[in-house]
């Protein structure tokens, strides 16, 4: 197992390097001179020359990349054109807010999805199975940015129970989930965000548990007189590592893909930061946020793989 872990970690390194290359190249996708993208529009010619030297734009692109990478590793991702704050600060502050709702969403999706998926697998082909399968298709088909608006219409506009947008008067620095006056701001984003992972976890749980239930050993369990609940417990234990892996991957997708939901709820996370940066053409923030989110995704995938190997004794990867 350790050999596998070491190889898996080694394998992630070229991927991570590839990700940095893609993020570096993003600047060249932007229309216009990349140096102009890094400067406010009213910058003087002297500033331009200075920055050109500083960033090494007069040098060949591979050299530029290595320099950029070295600075990025040192934590220097440039400065936001809008706020003049370091990009790393902006992104890391926003990241914690995104993690809060993503974690909430994935936990909600897992508990509901696992319970319903197992029920469906136990009653394969019966009405309850059809209902669960239907719900899971709806979960992955529904445009969650629309669902967010609908939930706002119902719970904020019509019923007035929950706040529509934002994070509350305390702001993100003092956000505490234990405090209802703050927690209530997170409820609608979490529910909206949980729809896609809910559908996917349900579907995966259903097929995984149903597959285990079809094994011969299940018949043996019944033959030796085990109750149905105990039989189901065996099946669930067999399917669980696989579902946990799905859950981990979904968490990675949520953190990286939070832009639509955060835009709707004006939740000050990385997605909201990204959409602001797109509107204001703040390329340094755009590049930095994408780099950090993609690296988080690589790290999540790696962690999921390693944890799964550690947890599931059946996986003996040479």
């Amino acid at each position: 197992m350790w050999a596998y872990a070491a190889r898996r970690i080694l394998y992630a390194v070229p991927i991570a390097i590839g990700v940095t290359v893609v993020c570096f190249c993003l600047v060249f996708l932007a229309p216009g001179d990349p140096i102009q993208m890094l400067l406010p529009p009213d910058a003087s010619q002297a500033d331009l020359e200075y920055l050109k030297k500083l960033y090494g734009f007069d040098q060949p692109i591979p050299v530029q990349y290595v320099k950029w990478l070295m600075r990025a590793i040192g934590g220097d991702l440039g400065v936001s054109l809008q706020t003049s704050r370091p990009v790393l600060d902006e992104v890391s502050r926003a990241l914690s807010n995104t993690v809060i709702i993503s974690l909430g969403a994935v936990m909600l999706a897992f508990s509901l999805g696992f319970a319903l998926g197992t029920t469906a697998a136990y009653f394969v082909g019966r009405p309850i199975d059809r209902v669960v399968t239907g719900v899971s298709v709806v979960g992955v088909s529904v445009p969650n940015y629309w669902l967010g608006i609908v939930l706002i219409i119902i719970f904020a506009v019509n019923l007035g129970l929950l706040p529509a947008t934002g994070m509350g008067s305390q702001g993100s620095d003092h956000f505490r989930l234990s405090n209802w006056s703050q927690l209530k701001y997170a409820i609608l984003p979490v529910i909206t965000m949980s729809m896609v992972p809910l559908g996917i976890i349900m579907r995966n749980t259903r097929s995984a548990v149903a597959e285990v239930l079809a094994h011969d050993f299940v018949q043996t369990l019944r033959a030796k007189g085990l109750g149905e609940l105990a039989v189901l417990r065996h099946a669930v234990r067999n399917a669980l590592p696989q579902i946990l892996a799905v859950m981990g991957l979904q968490f990675g997708y949520l953190v990286g893909g939070s832009i639509l939901i955060e835009t709707i709820f004006t939740w000050p996370g990385t997605g909201f930061l990204l959409s602001k940066a797109i509107l204001t053409r703040d390329i340094p923030v755009l590049q930095g946020a994408i780099l950090i989110l993609a690296l988080c995704f690589v790290a999540t995938n790696l962690a999921v793989d390693l944890v799964q190997t550690a947890v599931d004794p059946r996986i003996k990867r040479a």
Binding site: A16, V142, L147, I149, V150, G252, V298
Partner: protein, 300 residues
């Protein structure tokens, strides 16, 4: 796959052939689909949506771009406006019908492009193997390392929005998974006996790929591609919602949802309509894709 038909070369009387006749692959698929009412119903939905989009100029009761200050944000069923009006007084029903064009275009084009490009890359990687495989597949791995929404936003966001940039971004998102599927399917059959036999009898690479590989790769690739259409529609509308796709005043469901968002306190039901259209379309494509997958019995 279609040529695995038992009895195809059987010489005999008509009755004997009839008795021995076994359904071919595509016939079996058709037979299974005929009794799959859910798939049939949602195929009908897709046909309706497509017809509505194609004949939008004939069907739409009003000009989708004609604004009217007097009739802004009217409720559903207000006088001649069956589904109300939007924030600029344009008829919602007409805009929804016209909007289907953009949404279908933005949903189908990237998947079609990515199927051709990713499929070709995957077959080449799987068939040639070696260094070329390493090069192609490791490059794909890098793009896999981005969550799909993030990659789409990253590319179209830096390129500066617009419909063509959105299409490029979405195509780029779908190439890696399709490439991977095609590569796996190709590598699975590449070393099988019938390919060996074809090569031994003097078939060139091109004709081996065309006659022996493609038939085995096409089904899983097409099934997977069909499941991506729904994702593509959701993502494309999402990009428009963020202001990165279709530009106003062109009617597009994602864009309409985004501009109407300001009006949820005035006319909540009208504001929710474009999302309903997106939802129904994406749901239909998802269910039809599921039905096809079951009928074709392909595991992706």
């Amino acid at each position: 796959m279609a040529d695995i038909m038992v009895g195809a070369g059987f010489q005999g009387t008509d009755e004997a052939t009839a008795a021995l006749k076994v359904r071919g692959y595509w016939q079996t698929v058709g037979y299974r689909l005929r009794y799959d009412y859910v798939t049939l119903f949602f195929t009908g939905m897709i046909v309706l949506i497509a017809l509505g989009s194609i004949f939008a100029p004939l069907l739409a009761p009003f000009d989708p771009l004609k604004t009217s200050m007097a009739y802004r944000l009217k409720p559903i069923g207000f006088r001649q406006f069956l589904l109300g009006t939007d924030e600029l007084g344009r008829d919602m029903l007409s805009r929804l019908i016209w909007g289907g064009r953009m949404s279908l275009l933005m949903g189908l084009t990237p998947v079609a492009l990515a199927t051709v490009l990713g499929g070709t890359l995957g077959v080449v990687a799987g068939f040639v193997g070696g260094r070329l495989n390493m090069l192609i597949m490791r490059t794909m791995d890098v793009f896999y390392a981005f969550p799909s929404v993030l990659l789409a936003v990253a590319v179209s966001g830096t390129m500066g929005g617009g419909m063509s940039n959105g299409l490029i971004a979405l195509t780029l998102v779908f190439i890696p998974p399709l490439c991977r599927i095609a590569e796996t399917a190709t590598a699975q059959v590449r070393n099988l006996d019938f390919v060996e036999a074809a090569r031994a009898s003097g078939a060139g690479t091109g004709s081996i790929i065309r006659h022996h590989i493609l038939g085995n790769v096409l089904a899983p690739v097409l099934i997977y591609a069909s499941s991506l259409i729904s994702v593509s529609i959701l993502l494309a509308a999402g990009l428009s919602f963020l202001g990165l796709g279709v530009e106003p005043p062109t009617p597009d469901w994602g864009l309409m949802l985004s501009t109407l968002r300001q009006a949820i306190y005035v006319e909540p039901y009208v504001c929710a309509l474009p999302g309903v259209a997106i939802f129904i379309t994406s749901l239909s494509f998802n269910l039809v894709s599921d039905g096809l997958r079951q009928a074709m019995d392909v595991r992706v």
